[in-house]
Symmetry: C2
Subunit: 436 residues, 2 copies
């Protein structure tokens, strides 16, 4: 009995605390990515613009109640990034046009044999088309790029062919509907592109660079952290965990690539920028992140190693981190990476020294516990080294595919870099959420 | 010149080969998950059913052109699993009702000051509401469960309040629209639940068991594989890679959990089954899969170890694999795991022996290269062991949360198990695709 009383008494307090937390939550959502506020205002603007059709007689007279479809299209098509909006808009436009034509044909075909058979024929057409197109939606390629279009195809076909049974002027209705949908789509795309555009390609590019920086942060921190006693460790470990977002980045990356492929040239990205190549880079980055996750597990054991071993370890980690940072900078500045090779070579050298140190250590009969623990880390670091080389190769590929040019100094502006990093963190989060 | 001629000649051949591949692709999509065919037919049926409203005068007279909304709702709400359909249907229904009421209120409020100010007031209302609700969609909790509802909220509010400017009988229009949307929603939910239902909860449960089985397959195979020479290795390595699907399973798992939470009790799953707990289990399973990915990287090195070391290694892997299989079976049969403890204890024992073997091996001065390589694998296996214990704990938690009961023998029916495994493979794939 007492327990239930407590629950009842807690309810208002719980609600009060939830309401109290709300302004904080609003602030957090807005601060994570300030572009969310801009996006919300853009949606409001686009809908208000298109609803003007209702208020002005000269505009309304032409379309009548079909104006509804313009409002509906803006609401459904307007997405966070330009690419996603364009993709949805083109899908909707094309699907409406094709399905409208087909629905019109079906309507006339069904009307030929006479009034009694017409509804039966229409029902059969609708059943066959809906079943077929629903099945097509399971094809992976269709799913990725045309899923929304296929849904709209079913929708328009049904509306035109079936409601044509009641509305005598099917052609006029179909024409009005297509026109208003096109008007709605254009309004959405126009507002999306010309007022503070948010480019998926830009986000994808930053995400790739930011992921490499997260790897670098972990590697550079790991060297110091690994030989710290566990009691002193807690405080700065949180800063190392940035790489964890990479582990589950596959789907948000795919959705960004998919949106970016619909975008026209913008900023530093030319037409036919090799967006698909970012999937390859992303997959290699994740390979590397899996190794870091295993390394992260090694942080929990207390290891005492000789100062010599410590130094070699730290050197390897630091050089790997520098190489990663250089690769990230190459992506950011869109210049071919060149100085990283020195860091990779140094990391290789340090890893080689580390290995031979461990081996000669055996002869001198150091503590075996140390050797076993340290050997794991050394071997994982060698894996990371191999990953780094592969990532470097794929960035060279990207550089040649996208015709990166060498800047005068090739070094990124550091202040800008920090800004971009802060921004990118929220981009990752945002896209993980919006892509679900 | 010659190159372009070749390209032109190749085009028809390319198209021909693509067309030729098509039947094979259809077969593959259908075989990966035969329920896709069933789903497609269900969609066709539901749409045909709801379009009957157009054909029969008594039905059509009541709703008129609002019948369109019933067709539209079925097409948009009908999803692959019952949970997803229910979630979308409830979202749409509730959002339409609330936004309809609010839109009706806004329409009347705007009409009060007079005809000239009405469109301006309406425009302001629409702008404020669309902006606010668009921003709300970025809140992670809203995004996960109510995203579609929020979109429908904007849509209905705009349609009711704005088109009310032209249509005098707003209340009648709103009432018709809500009724037809409810009819459409019910048709979709009815067909989805009562004709060969596809439960997201069931798929999620199988996915959890199947993932553990994939871990077991890798672990059991790894023991043998690791000491095979690389030249003999290629053939059977593909069978080990099943665990890779786990690495990127987070989002499909989340979408399944989200759908499952909308589902009523079904089959062996009671009302309030702890679906959220599957996220915890999934995250631990992925932790384990990351270690396996690192282990997988070790497969590429040629290692010669003493027969004694080999034996201990294989024992550890085999016992870990058995423990995983037992855990998977516990999930499948929904009985608390009990026999796994023996396997985990055996695995611990074997790992302990392996460690001491390696240490004494050092004294006997075996090849250091071997020690270093083998130490890595041993240490990763210890990590896997720790993960296995955590997974086991979380399954015990699930067993107590969901009140698993001990069966008479507690052992799964093996034939059934194989069937379920084959099925689950396609489920994973399907949900990875459909959840994008």
């Amino acid at each position: 009995m007492e327990a239930s009383v407590v629950v009842v008494e807690d309810e208002p307090a719980k609600i009060r605390s939830k309401v109290g937390e709300f302004p904080g939550k609003i602030k957090k959502v807005a601060e994570d990515d300030p572009r969310r506020i801009v996006h919300s205002f853009k949606v409001g603007l686009a809908i208000t613009l298109v609803s003007l059709f209702y208020y002005f007689d000269p505009l309304y007279v032409g379309f009548g109640s079909s104006t509804m479809w313009a409002v509906l299209t803006v609401i459904v098509v307007f997405e966070f990034s330009v690419g996603a909006t364009l993709g949805k808009g083109l899908n909707r436009g094309l699907a409406t046009f094709l399905a409208g034509t087909l629905g019109f044909g079906a309507h006339h075909l069904a009307a030929l044999p006479g009034d009694k058979i017409q509804p039966i024929l229409l029902g059969i057409f609708v059943f066959i088309l809906a079943t077929t197109v629903s099945f097509l939606r399971f094809f992976p390629r269709m799913k990725v790029r045309y899923d929304y279009g296929l849904l709209m195809f079913i929708l328009t076909f049904c509306l035109i062919s079936v409601s044509g049974y009641r509305d005598e002027e099917v052609l006029r209705m179909a024409h009005k509907r297509v026109s208003t949908i096109i008007i709605g789509g254009f309004t959405a795309v126009f507002v999306c592109i010309f007022i503070y555009p948010i480019w998926a390609g830009h986000d994808l590019h930053n995400l790739a660079a930011n992921n490499l920086e997260n790897l670098a942060t972990f590697l550079q921190g790991f060297g110091d952290e690994y030989f710290t006693k566990s009691s002193e460790r807690e405080s700065n470990k949180a800063s190392l965990q940035g790489f964890k977002s990479i582990l589950n980045s596959k789907q948000s990356e795919e959705s960004l690539v998919n949106s970016a492929r619909w975008e026209p040239r913008h900023g530093r990205f030319k037409f036919r920028h090799p967006w698909k190549h970012y999937l390859k880079m992303g997959s290699l980055t994740r390979q590397c992140a899996y190794r870091l996750e295993a390394l992260n597990g090694c942080l929990y054991s207390d290891v005492q190693a000789s100062p010599e071993t410590c130094a070699k370890f730290q050197e390897t980690c630091t050089e790997l981190g520098k190489a990663m940072n250089e690769l990230a900078a190459a992506i950011k500045t869109m210049s071919p990476p060149y100085s990283h090779c020195a860091h990779i070579a140094k990391a290789k050298n340090a890893a080689g020294n580390l290995n031979s140190l461990l081996r000669t250590g055996l002869r001198k009969d150091i503590d075996m516990v140390e050797i076993l623990a340290v050997a794991t880390v050394a071997s994982l670091l060698l894996d990371v080294l191999a990953c780094t080389e592969k990532i470097s190769e794929s960035i060279h590929e990207l550089a040649s595919l996208a015709h990166f040019k060498n800047g005068k100094d090739g070094k990124p502006d550091m202040d800008k870099q920090t800004q971009v990093q802060q921004r990118s963190n929220s981009i990752v989060l945002n896209h993980v959420i919006t892509s679900e």
